[in-house]
Symmetry: C2
Subunit: 125 residues, 2 copies
C-alpha cells in the first residue's frame, strides 16, 4: 500500500531522514551513481541490518529508489524531496543574505575609518 | 556549559529540528519579527510545556535566540543553521536541475511531434 503524504508530512520525513550522518553519507555516495546495497554498506562499520534500517528511512522519505532487478536491486538517488527541502529553506534566504550585506557594510566602514586614520597620521609626520 | 558541535552534528540538530511541522511554523512566525513565548504559543493548540519543548529543540539547533530581558525574553530567528542546511542541499542542485532540463527537452520533443503530425494531416485534407 502506498501511503499518501501531505507536503508537510513529506518535509517531516525528508528532514528526519537528513538528520543522520550515515544517511547523508549514503546519499553522497549515491550521487556518484547507483550501486548495490552491499557495495553501499562497505565503507560503514555497521551491520547489514543497521544499514538496511537507514535505507528504509531514506526510501520512506522518497530519497532513494530500488531497482526492480530480482538479483541485484540497485539503489538510486531520488532528488525531488531534496528540491522541496531546498525550496522550503529558500523562504529564509533573504535573512542570511541581508545579514551578509550588513557584515559587508560594516567591514567597508571599518576599512574607511582605518584609511582616514592612516591619512591623518601621515599628515602629522 | 556551551557544547561545541562539529559541522556534521550541527546539521543533525538542524535537520532534526526542521522535521516537525510545529517547529517549522514557529520559525515561519519568527520570520515576521521577534515575539514573546506566550504570543508565539497562541496559534497552536498545545500546552505551554509542549511549546517550551519545541523551543528548546530549536534553541539547541541554534535556530532561535532568546533575548536577555529579565521579564520578557523575546524569541528571535537565527538563520545561520538554515544557510548551512541550504548549502548542504546545494550539492544536489545539479541533479534536480538536470532532471528539469530533461523534462523540458521531452516536452519540446512532444510538441514538435504534435506539430509535424498536424502539418501532415493538414496536407492530406
Amino acid at each position: 500500500m502506498v501511503q499518501q503524504l501531505t507536503s508537510s508530512e513529506h518535509l517531516n520525513a525528508t528532514f528526519a531522514a537528513l538528520a543522520d550522518p550515515t544517511r547523508r553519507a549514503i546519499l553522497a555516495r549515491l550521487a556518484s551513481g547507483e550501486t548495490s546495497v552491499s557495495e553501499l554498506a562497505e565503507p560503514f562499520e555497521m551491520s547489514m541490518p543497521a544499514i538496511s534500517k537507514h535505507l528504509k528511512v531514506l526510501q520512506r522519505a522518497g530519497l532513494i529508489e530500488r531497482g526492480r532487478e530480482a538479483q541485484w536491486r540497485p539503489c538510486r538517488l531520488a532528488v525531488a524531496p531534496l528540491k522541496d527541502a531546498s525550496d522550503w529553506l529558500d523562504h529564509y534566504r533573504r535573512f542570511w543574505e541581508e545579514a551578509f550585506d550588513r557584515l559587508e557594510d560594516y567591514l567597508r566602514e571599518l576599512k574607511r575609518d582605518a584609511q582616514k586614520k592612516e591619512k591623518k597620521n601621515g599628515r602629522k609626520k
